[in-house]
Amino acid sequence: MSTSIHVSLGQVAAALVLVVVAAAISRWRRADLEQDIAIATVRSFVQLTAIGYAIKLIFEADTIWLVLALLSVMVVFGAITARGRAKRVPDAFWPLLIALAVAGGATLGLVVALGIFDPTPRYLVPVGGMVIGNAMTASAVALNRLGDEVADSRARIEATLSLGATAREAAAPIVRRALRSGTIALVDSTKTTGLIFFPGTMVGMLLAGADPTDAVRLQLILLYSLLGSVAIAALIATTLAYRNFFTPAQQLREPDADALG
């Protein structure tokens, strides 16, 4: 897997033509997305360039501590971003932070322990980034659904509590649905991978000149690792977050006025 290609800034600039096409479509059909497209283009350039230099430094330093620092920053920003999509869940930050940290740690720990990857920055940084990114999306979707479900099912939850069920028992059906909705997108895309779309890692490796068999095998490893990590993240996020809807006396809290939107 020691392939490499050189991409010039000119080639990147040429790809901007497609961005212009996107902006033109938005303007023509009055989708009002031109400003967002511009922001997205600039942000992606700045962020990816910055992270590219950061990764280069980390690779050159070749120390595990810098890797851990980078992944920790990703976990914190991931939790902050996911919290923005789980507005109806009280105090969603801590469940998300723990979910991302455990999902990232457990997945990376396992792939290293099983001898799939060496514990070096060259593997841990990109794999960790993918794992944390996917775990963030999954737990954000799960908590978003959890918040909506609690808001829609207050009567049923209270009726179940009034039978003397614990908060855990009363919330079980909605926690189950939230966990499912957080995980299902990746399960579905894993089912159709290779048929309807080529996943990013495989595309990147093929472009970089790798043997297709190697590209496919690495992609499979990543897909399987991601399945595990999103399930862990969605499980931990929902299991910790549902408790925030209840008091210690097994009462459903009144909805936060801010969270009602």
């Binding site: 049923r156 209270e158 179940t160 009034s162 039978l163």
Partner: protein, 218 residues
């Protein structure tokens, strides 16, 4: 005394829903009467400890509610909410869930009969029941826990006159056949007269009268 309500206030969303309520609710059949928005349902939720008052105390059989394990309390003091909210599945699965939580042997046919439903009803999917049937199933489910007190929130609010008469007959029968106290929330003073022997009248979150039925509703 079944419930002692002392200086109880409760607010929701910045609005005072209950204001310094004082009442001693006796065992038997008590009615909480008042117009819509007077705080009746909120008071019933406090009796079931689905929420706690922000001020004041409520005691049940001489001990403050907060001293009870909320789960045990709710199995003994069962709330039947105004809007049916059954769990997915059959009528019987709802009944067994409730009985299991309370650690009671389920006699589904008897619970259904007490709630005015045929034994064959047990296998029906709750998603296919009318609102009236759902309300009766909610009542049967509460009875499956063999509670000592039933808190009923507008049990006939969404029913027509004949269904209402049937539910009222069921409640009267329950009192005759079981050693059970009822606390009934209703906006209809006539229903309170038909079913209760004690009443608390609420208006805009305040207790305006409490005592023997005719006295409180006069």
């Amino acid at each position: 005394m079944l419930f002692e309500i002392r200086d109880v206030s409760f607010s929701r969303g910045g609005r005072r829903v209950l204001d310094a309520i004082e009442a001693g609710v006796p065992a038997g059949a008590a009615a909480i009467v008042g117009p819509s928005g007077s705080g009746k349902s909120t008071l019933l939720r406090l009796l079931n400890r689905l929420a706690d008052p922000e001020r004041g105390t409520i005691s049940y059989r001489g001990s403050p509610l907060v001293d009870y394990d909320p789960l045990k309390l709710r199995r003994e003091v069962a709330l039947v909410p105004q809007l049916p909210a059954l769990l997915e599945g059959t009528v019987r699965s709802n009944l067994s869930y409730a009985a299991e939580l309370a650690g009671k042997e389920l006699d589904a046919d008897r619970c259904l009969a007490l709630a005015g439903l045929d034994a064959g009803f047990g296998e029906r999917d709750v998603g296919r029941l009318s609102v009236g049937e759902q309300q009766r199933t909610m009542l049967a489910r509460a009875l499956a826990q063999q509670p000592r007190v039933l808190l009923l929130d507008e049990p006939t609010a969404s029913l027509d006159a004949s269904a209402r008469d049937a539910v009222e007959a069921t409640l009267a029968q329950l009192r005759r056949e079981l050693d059970i106290s009822l606390v009934l929330v209703t906006h209809d003073p006539e229903q309170a007269r038909r079913l209760g022997d004690w009443a608390l009248r609420l208006e805009e979150g305040r207790a305006v009268a409490a005592g023997a039925l005719e006295e409180a509703l006069a």
